[in-house]
């Protein structure tokens, strides 16, 4: 039996499944951080996590953290280096997979977190942070997005985190995890790998600002096990990141 879960809990489980054992993971905050912890607790006990501020951990922080710089994220770290040290390891090819998100995505997996005029007026977004570096240099990237038409665009206004492009040295977007499904980007096209339980192809097409391949046999995203949910709710007890009005399943 599976207990009730939120879309975001489902996304955390999908994120965790993108991490293989012994991999070196460039970890973001929020859902990817929970996904890393879940992977460590289940199928990837020997995965190692890097944070762009220089922290290297082989297990999640003991306490809930709101930012990667929070003191509990330093306590119990295996190393606390400089930003350029972890970026050097990333550029060297020592990082297998990195997680990034954005305000807009296009079919090539380009992410925009810099500026957009999609809603008419110019809106300035915070910028790249480390996302552009992870997109450029990681062995592969996993994108995590809210699935909304204005965010899924034929071409993003600004490529903050490059997706697939001719002459890319390494990596590129492998998987896109959204509030509606999991999509394969590895071919440079967006192909539905699974839709979350209760989500129809029609819903996805309406929520996507570009044509998207969803074949009829697209499976449903595997639902969280009781153990997976138990881990997530232990790690995010208030549902700060995984809370969601839309209960499903």
């Amino acid at each position: 039996m599976t207990s009730r879960y939120t879309r975001r809990e489902l996304m955390v489980v999908a994120a965790a499944r993108e991490i293989r054992d012994h991999e070196v993971v460039f970890v973001g905050m929020r859902l990817p951080l929970l996904g890393f912890g879940l992977a460590k607790a289940t199928h990837a006990p020997d995965a190692v996590g890097l944070f762009e501020n220089g922290v290297i951990r082989d297990r999640p922080a003991e306490a809930f953290i709101y930012t990667m710089g929070d003191p509990p994220n330093i306590v119990g770290a295996v190393a606390c280096l400089g930003l350029l040290d972890v970026m050097s390891l990333l550029q060297q090819g020592r990082v297998d997979v990195g997680f990034i998100g954005g305000a807009e995505v296009d079919p090539l997996g380009n992410l925009n977190t810099t500026r957009t005029s999609s809603s008419g007026a110019l809106v300035r977004l915070p910028g790249s942070g480390g996302a552009g570096d992870i997109a450029s240099l990681a062995g592969r990237t996993v994108l995590i997005m809210e699935h909304q038409p204005r965010r899924f665009r034929e071409r993003v206004d600004y490529v903050t985190s490059p997706g697939h492009f001719p002459g890319r040295r390494r990596g590129g977007p492998a998987t896109l995890i959204t509030t509606l499904g999991v999509f394969d980007l590895s071919s440079g096209r967006v192909r539905a790998a699974s839709l979350h339980p209760g989500v129809t192809p029609q819903q996805v097409r309406e929520a996507t600002g570009f044509p998207i391949a969803i074949d009829d046999h697209t499976p449903a995203t595997a639902t969280p096990s009781a153990d997976e949910l138990a881990y997530i709710r232990h790690a995010d007890p208030e549902g700060f990141w995984t809370g969601d009005s839309m209960k499903t399943g």
Binding site: A121, G127, S128, G132, D133, A135, S136
Partner: protein
């Protein structure tokens, strides 16, 4: 040895000038020198260029206060809330003034500082290729690999006039111990023409010399030393202060409007003379809730010869 101790007011008055390029917020979310940020606003510096990786709320406050002409950073906003409304108003509407934005990734702004720290005109990198940040960038140009490999990007050196860093402790000559997050603190202190070290406590030189590997900034690079406990609040300082989340969220709400920002500015900056007054305004109970009283000490390291 010369004693470099100054009050924060003196240090800012002597070392931060209109038009200066200032690196701060270098350890990312921790150790942000908010006390210095507020003192710079009180002293009404103008036309500053701000340099940092992810600035959290500090850059937004300085921009909204009208002290900033240009920002060189990878991310400008409020980590707790996302958007920085002061930054957006300046960038989108020129309120209170127009600002120039030099966009970077964390790696590229770090390499710009590192190039200056190494005394080089540039450092090569592969980051950013295929994206829009590097397209037409004033500080990033293609560079050939003289060994015949693929073309790289050269990130031009960025030498701040001044770096302002917050550390746990330093001796009177400015030899500084920092632990926990480092981010780009070392690169910026090496690169900058002047460095203000703000510390939780000034300690006898014997404390610093007992662990020279912990000295991330040698004193001869330091032009002023300020003892300002709690000077990084509401950001955290490992072993000294927890992060205070409420002010980040409160600022995020208030700063949605210019009026809201002005009321925040009056209450937390303009109507307060200095950081001790800021801490009193927080209230003793609030301050004590944030003060770290537990001890999780680093394992012994014996330096005996």
């Amino acid at each position: 040895m010369s004693d470099k101790r100054r009050s924060l007011r003196e240090a800012i008055a002597e070392q931060v000038h209109d038009g200066d390029t200032i690196a701060l917020g270098l350890a990312l979310e921790s150790g942000i020198p908010f006390a210095a940020v507020h003192e710079i606003i009180r002293q009404q510096r103008r036309d500053l260029t701000l340099v940092g990786p992810i600035s959290d709320m500090a850059f937004d406050q300085m921009i909204a206060a009208g002290t900033v002409a240009k920002v060189i950073a990878a991310w400008v906003g409020n980590v707790a809330g996302g958007s920085g409304y002061g930054f957006r108003r300046a960038y989108e509407q020129g309120q209170p003034r127009r600002i120039v934005m030099e966009d970077h990734s964390n790696f590229s702004v770090g390499l710009a500082l590192k190039a200056a720290a190494m005394g080089l005109p540039f450092l090569p990198t592969f980051t950013g290729l295929g994206g829009d940040i590097v397209r037409g960038h004033p500080r990033i140009r293609p560079v050939d690999d003289p060994f015949g490999g693929p073309t790289l990007l050269a990130v031009g050196a960025l030498r701040p006039d001044i770096a302002i860093v917050h550390v746990q402790r330093a001796d009177p000559q400015g030899n500084a111990h920092l632990w926990g997050n480092l981010g780009l603190t070392v690169e910026a202190a090496y690169a900058a023409r002047r460095t203000i070290v703000i510390c939780e406590e000034v300690v006898p030189e014997a404390v610093i010399r007992s662990d020279p590997n912990r000295t991330v900034i040698p004193g001869f690079l330091v032009t002023a030393l300020v003892e300002e406990p709690g000077g990084a609040l509401p950001s955290s300082v490992q072993g000294y202060w927890r992060r205070d989340f409420a002010p980040f969220l409160a600022y995020h709400q208030l700063s949605r409007t210019l009026d809201g920002f002005q009321s925040w500015l009056r209450e937390w900056v303009l109507d307060l003379p200095d950081r001790p007054a800021y801490l009193r305004h927080m209230g003793e109970a609030a301050v004590e809730r944030l003060r770290v009283t537990d001890r999780r000490l680093a394992a012994e390291a014996n330096f005996a010869p």
